[in-house]
Amino acid sequence: MKNKTPLLKRDGVQSLIASLICVILGVFIGYIVLLVINPAGAGKAILAVLKNFFFYPAGPARMKYFGSTLVKTAPLIMCSLSILFAYKVGLFNIGVAGQYVAGVGACLYGALAFHWPWWLCMLFAMAAGALLGGISGFLKAYANVNEVISGIMLNWISLYLVNILLTNVKEPTSPYTFKVLSTSPGSVMPNLGLNKLFGNNQYVTLGVPLSILIAIAIYIILERTQFGYELRATGNNKNAAKYAGMKEKRNIIVTLIIGGALAGMGAALLYLTGIEEWSCSQSSVPGMGFNGIAAAFLGCLNPIGAILSSFFIQHITNGGGYLDKTLYSAQISDLISAIIIYLCGFVLFFKTYMNRRGAKREDTRFAPEPKAEEKKPSDAESEKGGGAK
């Protein structure tokens, strides 16, 4: 602790504590809801949500369901990267949900109609997402349309478009699209032997490591390159960035194109494993994009944090499946994630509060270190699911 800044005042530490508070409060409120529904089984139920695949004894079964959680974590990581990347540039990319849907449409159509190889399907999905992001960016830069509003409109437009498009490649008797595994085996992502590692879970593919690599790449771009610096500068103060000779309009468009491509790629990482099919009669935008918002903010808007928070959110979402269905519904997990995002709105307040307390302490000449040291491990211990960082 030779660092001059007191531990509690460092931004990273504050974000971490704030995220942990959100997680703990979210789980706690979820527990209370369970108690209200049925007091007898609530304790067991909340543990089931938090345990997820630990429900199984150690061995292939546990690894297999660990694998399933990871498969669905990959797209979530991509969506949260899309959000946080845009957020660094001061843009709230709520259109991530639609960009994800566009990616689903593109990759499934490429696979099922054209039988393209997986990488081509994935590029197609990225292009589709990027196109949507680009439209939002263009409207923002040149027509002053708020990206939140255009994003919401595009979410619904892409949902209906994809429903229409994928109707061409759906089963005649059900609303679901053909199975990628049987219709076009060449479009399934290679699993690189990862399936052996996860109890022969055939859906664990290249997608999982790829999403983590992309997260690291985004971190490097944002923190270590001139391009990333320009983007962050645009986010901090658009006019100052313009004054310093940065092309702020270009930066806005490029950011949303990258954000869209990330979301589209996330869709490919999930649907090209063949783990699920698209329902062409879907009447609402899938929650993946919105969960991405939760993961991005819970991960303190840090790409590495996003990996952990995405895993946590997917972990409790899958954990909802292990509830006693006669007593509780699986949506309790959605409820907990929604509460967590709601609480993330208060992060700024938590931080100001911590700063103010820190400032008060300095006035009375208290050394803040010992107190802070005590606080951190106790917080870290009480959270088992691995919230952030």
């Binding site: 409207l139 229409i164 919105f290 519904s329 929604a338 509460i339 995002i341 709601y342």
Partner: protein, 313 residues
Amino acid sequence: MMLLIQYTLIFASVLVLVALGGCISEHSGVINLGLEGIMVIGALGGALMMKYLPAGSSAFVTIVLTVLMAILAGVIYSSLLAVSCINFKADQTIVGTALNMLGVAAATVIVKAINSAENPDNPSSEISYIAQKKAFLVNINGFEFNWFMVLAVLALILVAVMLYKTRFGLRLMACGEHPQAAASVGISVYKMRWAGVLLSGALGGLGGLVYITAGVSQWKFENGVAGFGFLSLAVMIFGQWKPKHIAWAAVLFGMFRALSNVYSGFPFLARMNIPSGVYNMLPYIISLVVLAFTSKHSRAPKAEGIPYDKGSR
């Protein structure tokens, strides 16, 4: 044809109510992206009221109690948005998104808990209100007139008068345009914004109730309200934040929505064989195009989305 008019009017009623809610909230300076979630919770309140009303209740009592319950549910739920965005200066987009997710999740959990407590073999998220719903309908020569249409028109007139003709409305709008100036003449910006958000909760909750009683007699809460909250935002923007324009926008968008349901009843439309998705998509495309051409000189309240801080001038 009759069916098209009927559906258009009822969908337009939903859109008018919810869009007016969004309009009041934005005029007070708070962007209410959580309308979708508020609608779900309002609908839940209304549906539960219909479920638990004694069977013999008169039509009038049913209407009044159900409407009040939906409004109450919406108001309570919207206070979550108000407290975080006004008092704690939270990001309005994050909180709105959270409310949308929370609304659907909470409604599903609650309804499923109620259903499975009644009957362990019924873990569905559906509430049906076939008998109670009849209170809202009057059949005039095959045209199902719905009392909610009257409510929507009333709300429209009330909101228009309130915003432009009363002291309260003008003050509320001042808080959305320039809160510091409003505060300097003694208006409590926090109170006005709370009022704006709670009113939008009331209208949103009522709109949710109208939506789930439009055409169907049971509702599966897992489905939320299928984007009507967002469509209402589109109506509000298309209506340029003015009640009168919002009414026309709602009728137009309501017609598209109705067409997607009943287009097969029109020979010339059925022959064109356009998928219903296209009709569903059109309102959003139109709003996007309109936005692209009008946003340079947007009529949006100037200070919307910016948390008011007493300390900053």
